[in-house]
Symmetry: C2
Subunit: 232 residues, 2 copies
């Protein structure tokens, strides 16, 4: 992202623990403007309200957009270079913090954003439930979690289907990707990134006090879940 | 290359044994036409004559060009998919063969082509000298080796400078890259690809019966050596 910010032609290289290596033009996309965002993303953003926590904010495109609309936004990312970029691009409140470090010190939020498939940052079934419990404590009674993910089963790619089977055999969720990002000589540690179907998402929410208010589908396998508190 | 041939957006991902990972638009370039080739490459091709061996021919762009000019060309590549592509694109004589498998069975050549930095296929100082000896036997007395390489010292990239030092410490040539190519779940074995300065190139040739007739420089660090027999 830092390379792309500095005008380099940079791709995001993702290595998965089955040896799959993929690349994408995401770094460009991280700097894209509202006009270029997909329809389902624009629709999801219409539901943002009050004080906003933007988790895994990247280069801050959503935070900048919402802040310009007058909302109070706290942008967090576990990458210090991402947060540096946010600052340079004008995000007012940006903080180096992983999703695990989200805490009541940050105040109370009315919207929690997990854009760009960042539901994935929950990492696993159990961790998702623990973090949802924490989110419950630092949100207002009519708060919304606006989270994007991808239905891992909506694929015909044999590499992905094989990987899902591999995951099931080792007791992981089908869409629980174990990946790392590589760039030049930089390699992130391996981390889990969780893709879930709607059924799986609802199973995760069950008993956490959170429930789905509505889904916003895209033309592809990714979709938004608008998640609210069960008893308000 | 096969993916690019089939219209996929495909990059070439190269992993080096120091952990460096790079990507390039080479797959597109493998299918480029004469008009898009760099000046120094066009100039080098002017020296091609007689019967031609195109080593590491890739998608066959040089072979196709030379064959259209009426030359008798044998294109070889150690990748069977590359040779399949050559056939589909109209290369008349294309054979799956590594540089090590070049043999007198292939007949006598007047030009040996090592385009696209394919001097690198020599792999190491010693292997280069052995293979140059073999090439001597299967070439005419006024034969030319037209080989492209890159001067590894013409860089200010700290990753590359560090790698050269790493190589020197373990008794390898500075520009002796240990790399593998990755694509989706495919990974080639690790192999050596040799970049040499002009001094190093001449040191390799010394005593093999081959010598440099002339160099053709590019605007960057890569250059062609036109190599002929010492006693003709």
């Amino acid at each position: 992202m830092w390379a792309a910010f500095n005008g380099e032609w940079a791709l995001e290289i993702v290595e998965r623990d089955d040896g799959l290596i993929t690349y994408s033009r995401l770094p460009e996309h991280y700097f894209s403007d509202y006009i270029d965002w997909p329809k389902h993303e624009k629709k999801a953003l219409e539901y943002v309200k009050g004080r906003v926590l933007d988790i895994g904010c990247g280069a801050g495109r959503h935070s900048l957009y919402l802040q310009d609309k007058g909302l109070d936004v706290l942008a967090i990312d576990n990458s210090s270079l991402a947060i540096k970029i946010c600052g340079l691009r004008g995000v007012k409140n940006a903080l180096v913090s992983s999703i695990e470090e989200v805490s009541p010190d940050m105040g109370i939020f009315d919207t929690i954003l997990m854009m760009g498939n960042n539901f994935g940052l929950f990492g696993s079934f159990e961790k998702a439930r623990i973090l949802l419990g924490r989110f419950y404590e630092l949100t207002s009674s009519d708060a919304l979690i606006i989270a994007e993910t991808r239905d891992p089963y909506k694929t015909s790619n044999p590499n992905h289907l094989e990987y899902q089977e591999f995951n099931q055999k080792r007791g992981r969720m089908s869409g629980q990707l174990r990946i790392r990002i590589r760039f030049k000589k930089y390699t992130t540690p391996w981390f889990d990134y969780l893709l879930v179907s709607k059924d799986e998402l609802e199973e995760i929410l069950h008993g956490t006090g959170w429930c789905v208010n509505q889904y916003i589908d895209s033309e592809r396998s990714n979709y938004f879940a608008l998640v609210e508190k069960e008893f308000r």
